[in-house]
C-alpha cells in the first residue's frame, strides 16, 4: 500500500460511465411505443407497429449486445401482453425477441450505411426487423390456429410488408432527432479511454468529518477548462449547508463529486480528493458511496422507477440484498420520516409533485445514510411546496440528526434552517461562512445579487446609506421588529 501524504497532488481519471444507459433508453422508448398506439395516425387502416419501431430505434441508439437485445424484445412482448395489445401472446413472446435480435445483428454487423449525410441503418433495420417479427407472428398464428394457406400468403404477408414499410418511414423521424440529442448529452466525456486505479493507495482525510473535500479540481472529458478549481470544504456532522452560486458556477459538479458520480459516471479528471465518512471516493464504487450519502437530483421524477410507493422505497434495499423483513421495517421508518405513512400501496402516478419529491427523499434515506444532499429541490415547486419541503428537510436535520447539504438559489425559503452557507462562482469557492456573512459578502462584492432575498438587499442598502438597523433582516419578523424599535 502506498501512503499518500499530500492529497492535493493526487490525480484520477475515469472514462465516462453509464453502464445502464441501454436500460434507461430502452425503457423509455418501450414506454413511448406503448402509448403511441393511442395517438397514432393510420393510413387506410394500416398503422406502423410502434412497438417494433421504438425498440428498433432504441437498439440503433444504444447498440446493446445480442443477448441484451433479446431481452429488450422479451420486455416488449411482455408489455404488449400485459397491456392487452397482444392478439396472441405466444406470437408476441416469439416475434418480438426475434425482431429485436434481427435489429441488433444488423446494427452490429453492418456499419456505415449512408447516403450523403442520411444514415440508412434505422430505415433498413426497421424494415427487416418488422418483416422478421411480423412474419414470425403470423407464422405462429398460421401454425397454431391452422389458418388457410391462401390467407397466410395473400393477406397476412402483404399486411406485414405494408406495416414494415410504415415502420421504415417512421423510424428515421424518431431516430435522427433522438440521436442528435443523446450525442449532445454524452459528448463531454467520450474521448477518454483509460481509467486510473487508486485501489492500492492509502489515502486518509486530514480531518474527521462526514464530507471532506480536499483541494479538489475537476475537468470533464478531456477538456482543458476546469469546471471547479481547488475546492476545500469540510461539512460537519449535523450541519445544514447551503451551496449557492449563479448558473454554471460549478455547484452541481461539487454535488456530483460528493456522490462519486464525478468522475466515475461523467468521465473526466479529478485532482485532489473527496472523502465521504473518511473513505476516498475514488476507491469506492458509486453504490458504496450511496450507503453513506443520499442524493436527490433536481429532476426527482426520473429517480422514481417503480410502480408503488412501497416498492420505490424498497428498490435500493432489494438491490443490496436486504431480507424481506428488514425491508419492511426500514420502509415503515422511512415513510414515517417523510410523512408518507399509509400510502404504501399507492401508485406513483397518482401522487402530487410534492409527494413524489418526498418519495424520492424517502427512497434515498432507505439505506440509512448519514448525509442527505438535495440538488436544486425547489425548481418545480410553488412557494407553498417549497416551504413544506424545507420544513421536512429541516426536521430531518434537527430531529433525526441527518447532515444536510442543499444546492439552491431560492435563498429566502432555506435561510431559516441553514447554519452555514457557501458561495461558488466561476468554479471557485468564494466564501464559506455563516448565512449572514455570506449574504453580506454577496452584496458587498456584487456577486449573484439577484439571488439575495429582497429584504436583505434593502437592509444592506439602507446600511450603505448610513441608516443603521439593529438586526440583519433575514426574515420578515426580524425586519418588522427592528423597524418598530426604530420608530420608538
Amino acid at each position: 500500500m502506498k501512503e499518500i501524504k499530500d492529497v492535493s497532488k493526487l490525480s484520477y481519471t475515469h472514462v465516462q460511465g453509464g453502464q445502464f444507459r441501454w436500460i434507461t433508453v430502452s425503457t423509455i422508448m418501450l414506454a413511448l411505443g406503448t402509448i403511441l398506439h393511442a395517438v397514432s395516425p393510420s393510413v387506410a387502416g394500416v398503422t406502423p407497429n410502434w412497438t417494433i419501431a421504438t425498440y428498433c430505434v432504441a437498439i440503433n441508439l444504444t447498440r446493446p449486445t445480442l443477448r441484451q437485445s433479446l431481452g429488450i424484445g422479451l420486455v416488449a412482448a411482455l408489455i404488449n401482453v400485459f397491456t392487452s395489445k397482444s392478439a396472441l401472446p405466444y406470437g408476441n413472446l416469439i416475434s418480438e425477441p426475434l425482431g429485436a435480435f434481427t435489429c441488433a445483428v444488423l446494427v452490429h454487423y453492418i456499419s456505415n450505411l449512408k447516403i450523403g449525410k442520411l444514415n440508412l441503418m434505422p430505415i433498413l433495420s426497421a424494415f427487416i426487423s418488422t418483416v422478421a417479427s411480423g412474419g414470425a407472428f403470423i407464422t405462429c398464428l398460421y401454425l397454431v390456429l391452422g389458418l388457410p394457406s391462401n390467407v397466410y400468403w395473400n393477406a397476412m404477408w402483404p399486411l406485414v410488408l405494408m406495416v414494415a414499410l410504415c415502420n421504415a418511414v417512421v423510424a428515421p423521424f424518431l431516430y435522427i432527432p433522438a440521436q442528435k440529442l443523446l450525442a449532445r448529452q454524452t459528448v463531454k466525456g467520450q474521448q477518454l479511454t483509460d481509467s486510473s486505479d487508486h485501489s492500492d493507495l492509502h489515502i486518509v482525510p486530514s480531518v474527521k468529518a462526514p464530507i471532506v473535500i480536499d483541494h479538489m479540481s475537476y475537468r470533464y472529458g478531456n477538456q482543458t477548462k476546469y469546471a471547479v478549481k481547488d475546492i476545500n470544504l469540510v461539512v460537519n456532522e449535523g450541519d445544514f449547508l447551503v451551496i449557492t452560486g449563479p448558473a454554471g458556477c460549478g455547484k452541481s459538479t461539487i454535488c456530483m463529486a460528493m456522490a462519486g458520480a464525478v468522475p466515475k459516471f461523467y468521465g473526466g479528471t479529478m485532482e485532489g480528493m473527496v472523502f465521504i465518512n473518511g473513505k476516498a471516493v475514488t476507491q469506492l464504487e458509486i453504490p458504496d458511496v450511496a450507503d453513506d450519502i443520499g442524493i436527490v437530483l433536481a429532476d426527482y421524477d426520473t429517480q422514481l422507477v417503480t410502480m408503488t410507493v412501497a416498492e420505490e422505497v424498497a428498490f435500493a434495499l432489494e438491490n443490496r440484498g436486504y431480507t424481506a423483513e428488514a425491508i419492511e421495517e426500514r420502509t415503515a421508518i422511512v415513510l414515517d420520516q417523510v410523512g408518507l405513512t399509509g400510502l404504501e400501496d399507492r401508485n406513483v402516478y397518482s401522487l402530487s409533485g410534492g409527494q413524489r419529491q418526498r418519495l424520492a427523499i424517502a427512497s434515498v434515506l432507505a439505506v440509512n445514510p448519514s448525509i442527505l444532499v438535495l440538488d436544486e429541490p425547489t425548481s418545480s415547486l410553488d412557494p407553498e411546496g417549497t416551504e413544506e419541503l424545507y420544513r421536512l428537510v429541516g426536521s430531518l436535520n434537527r430531529d433525526h440528526g441527518i447532515t444536510v447539504v442543499v444546492i439552491d438559489h431560492d435563498l429566502h425559503a432555506v435561510l431559516p434552517y441553514a447554519n452555514r452557507m457557501v458561495l461558488v462562482d466561476g468554479g471557485e469557492l468564494k466564501i464559506d461562512s455563516s448565512v449572514e456573512d455570506v449574504l453580506s459578502y454577496m452584496y458587498d462584492t456584487n456577486t449573484y445579487v439577484d439571488a439575495l432575498p429582497s429584504l436583505f438587499v434593502t437592509y444592506k442598502s439602507l446600511a450603505a446609506k448610513g441608516i443603521a438597523l439593529d438586526t440583519p433582516w433575514l426574515s420578515l419578523e426580524s425586519a418588522q421588529s427592528s423597524l418598530l424599535k426604530g420608530e420608538r
Partner: protein, 268 residues
C-alpha cells in the same frame, strides 16, 4: 379587446366549479392572475385559449364570438406560454422552432422568415437563432417559447407561472422583457404565485376564489383593503407589511420603493 361574460365551467355536467366569471381585458394591460391552488386560475386561461369549453357564457375577441372556436385558430389572437417550455420543442434550431407557429398559420416561406427574425429580435435572442433549443438554459428556453407565441402575431400573451423555479436573475430579466413587450403594445396576462411580482409589476390583479372571480382591481387595493387574503391563498408582500409597520410611508409596491421612502423618512 377580450371580453368574458358569465363564464361557467364544470368537469361533470351540472356541477359547476366556476360560475359567473366576467371581465374585460383591454389592450396594453399587465394583469396578474392569482389565487390558491385549484381555485381555477389556470382553468380560466385554458377556457380563454380553448383547451376547455365553458358550460355557459361567452368569450369575445374584438367583438367576435370565439366561445366555440378551436384552439388552433385562437392562436392568432392569444399566445400561451406553458410552464414547461421545453415540452413543445422538437426542432434542431431555435429559428426553425419559432417558425413552427407561422408555418401552421399558412404563411409563405419569406413571410415566415421575417416573422421569425422579428420575434427573435423582440425577445432578445437573435444570437441564439442557430442554437439547439433543448440544450439551452431554462431562461433561454422560456424566451424561445415566448418568441414562438409572438410569432403567431397574437396581441395577448398568457404566461403560466413563468417564474417558478427560476433564480432571481432570470426572473428579473423575464419581467423586464415582459414590460418591454407591454410597452410595444402587447397585453400580458401572468399567472403567478409570487406576491412581490404582483405588487411590483402589474397594474391590475384578478384573483380567483370562492368558485368565481373574487377580486379585480389594483394590487394596492388588494393588499391594503381586502381582509380575506388568507382565504384566497395570498399573503402580503414584504414591502406592504413593512410599510404598514411604518405607516408614514404609505403603500410601497416593492422593496426598492420602501427603501427609498424609508431612507428619506429617516433623514427627514
Amino acid at each position: 379587446m377580450l371580453q368574458v361574460e358569465n363564464l361557467c365551467f364544470s368537469y361533470v355536467p351540472g356541477q359547476d366549479i366556476m360560475k359567473d366569471v366576467t371581465f374585460t381585458i383591454g389592450s396594453g394591460e399587465f394583469i396578474t392572475l392569482g389565487g390558491r391552488n385549484g381555485c381555477g386560475k389556470t382553468t380560466v386561461t385554458r377556457l380563454l385559449v380553448g383547451l376547455e369549453t365553458p358550460s355557459e357564457g361567452k368569450i369575445s375577441y374584438d367583438g367576435q364570438d370565439i366561445t366555440h372556436m378551436p384552439t388552433s385558430e385562437r392562436g392568432r389572437f392569444i399566445g400561451y406560454v406553458f410552464q414547461q417550455p421545453d415540452r413543445q420543442m422538437f426542432r434542431q434550431t431555435v429559428a426553425e422552432e419559432v417558425a413552427f407557429g407561422p408555418e401552421q398559420l399558412g404563411y409563405d416561406k419569406e413571410t415566415v422568415c421575417s416573422i421569425v427574425k422579428d420575434a427573435l429580435e423582440r425577445v432578445g435572442i437573435s444570437h441564439l437563432a442557430e442554437s439547439y433549443p433543448l440544450g439551452l438554459r431554462r431562461g433561454e428556453k422560456q424566451r424561445v417559447a415566448i418568441a414562438s407565441a409572438l410569432a403567431m402575431q397574437s396581441k395577448l400573451l398568457i404566461l403560466d407561472e413563468p417564474t417558478s423555479g427560476q433564480d432571481g436573475t432570470e426572473t428579473k430579466e423575464l419581467l423586464v422583457l415582459l414590460q418591454e413587450l407591454q410597452a410595444q403594445g402587447l397585453t400580458i396576462l401572468l399567472i403567478t404565485h409570487d406576491m412581490e411580482i404582483m405588487a411590483e409589476y402589474s397594474t391590475r390583479v384578478i384573483i380567483m376564489g370562492y368558485g368565481t372571480k373574487a377580486f379585480d382591481g389594483s394590487p394596492e387595493e388588494l393588499f391594503t383593503n381586502r381582509e380575506d387574503l388568507l382565504e384566497l391563498g395570498l399573503t402580503k408582500p414584504p414591502s406592504v407589511v413593512l410599510s404598514e409597520t411604518v405607516p408614514a410611508l404609505g403603500y410601497c409596491k416593492s422593496m426598492k420603493e420602501f427603501e427609498l421612502r424609508y431612507a428619506e423618512y429617516v433623514k427627514g
